[in-house]
Amino acid sequence: MKARRSLWSILGSIEGLPVVGVLLLLYAGFVITAPTVFTKPLIYMSFLQTVPPWLVLGLGLTLVITAGEIDLSFPAVVALSGFVFAYVFKHVPGPWAPWLGIVLALAAGALVGWTNGILIAKVGVPSIMATLAAQFFWYGITILIANGLQIDIGAVEKTAVHDLFTGRIFGIVPAQALWAAGLAALLWFILNRHKFGEAIMFIGDNPNVARVMGINVEATKIQLFTLMGVIAAFGGLLLTVEINVFFPNQGQGFLLLTMAAVFIGGTLISGGKGSVVGTFFGAYIIGSLQAGVVATGVTSYWVQSAMGLIIIAAVVINVLIGDGRIGPASARIRKWILPARAQSAAAGKTTDVPKGS
């Protein structure tokens, strides 16, 4: 018993373990239901290619939600940064054009994030309102200056930028998967091992505590939203460089999927606690669902419902585990199962008695 408990506590102390479990279960399920697709490496390579852009967004959003705030404007930043990169690449001559494009795209993201931060921290607009407005505004601006047209940047394939961000390492592994993993590692250290991350957690926990303990709550929030803008711009860059084209409504549809990935990962919606590791695997869960469900051969009308079910299952598992610990959850589950057993035993007795008499 004691040994088992210590095993539980060891398992419980590993961040994001339940999410990894859900991901493995999901893949196991797909291997059984769609063996022709899921026993070959190709599908996994394609996940490593499609998931990173909004995995990157989810990583940034994890920090924002940990601070007790929300950002709804990042899909617009995905479009804006893609536009800025594509425009500079197309219109600026010279070999360094893609690099300039990257710098300006990240700067555009920083600008959006910074204005969000000013509105939220200095003016006091609730983040859900400020960023909702920003999402409309910046999408509008992007479509306006792009004249609603897509920009084909096929030539980017021959540049070093393309190889660096979306090339195939050893000919198979998409580089963007490594960029996303590297960013996840960096943000994990920032959230869990840096004073900026600690400030984020205390602000999300209770901004008054943060303030009386000497944290500059306003400045931290502005920095956080600026960082979110830069990260969202980076996600937009990965997307645009990968598909070699900017289209004005790129990023649309990312919002809810990204939020689902963050919450599946165990980040608290109330703030104060966030899991970068959880978001990392949560994003792969969400990213695998659509292809996976289609591959099982059920009609594609099932996809949305199946996604909903799997998302809610993942979140319920996280709620059960509560504090991020498995121990309490196993105790709770035992509590649920045991009375049920006692009941069924009692029911068995009552049916047995008439038989015997």
Binding site: K195, E198, F202, D205, N206, R211, M213, G214, G272
Partner: protein
Amino acid sequence: MTSTRSAPPKNASTEKRSQTAATPNALEMIHIEKYFGLVCALKDINLKVGKNEIVGLIGDNGAGKSTMVKILTGVFPPTSGSLCIAGRGVDLGSYNVKHAHALGIETVYQDKSLGEKQPLWRNFFIGREICYPLGFLNVKKEKEIASEIMVKTIGFRGAGITVDSNVSKLSGGERQGVAIGRAMHFEAELIILDEPTVALSLKEVRKVLNFVHKIKAAGKACIYISHNLADVYEISDRFVIMDRGRIVADKPKREFSLKSLDDFLLEYAHGRMDEEAS
């Protein structure tokens, strides 16, 4: 218990001044005023706290106690007036929480001293992290010191609470103990306790009062704010009574028994009611 002496000096603060001329006061507030827009929250506040003195600050809701605490601790500046800490004037223009901490002023709030969902070790060092270069936390060192504070200063033993425990696992008294222990670790010269015993059971209140006795024994000063007269009376050397943004009485303990302090406050409140009625 009743240390009431006959014919006490009329003005206790003048006596205090001459007594502590050699060692500077822990704190001196001179003509502090605070307006929120047109609303006057504090009017001509003059308050001194001696080096090893425990001052009980008493006043009704809205008397201005919390506003005063926030000015002392650098959460916001006063509209006018000046502030001396340990005998030295403070530049109120740049005064903030970090300065207050650096000058040895620590505050323990009723409910906003600790981050509930965070482990204890983070709560000990929040705002004053021990860092490697680039601002990365030295977690090992922070945990070591935190567990030392818990055993030596606060006196937590066993009970399944470690530096990795979340604050939400602690009882109310234990939380105040952690906050007071943190203040003492950072060598606070003046610890301000803002209603530390509200919503605590009697046993937990006892624990908190014992922590306050430790503050006195360690030679530090303290401002203790509470509604509970029995608590304030037990630990204070001097009582400061506030009403509607003013200090209306400032008297040493020997002028009052618990009963006479209670009567004084009641009479004062009645007098105010009469005044309002007329």
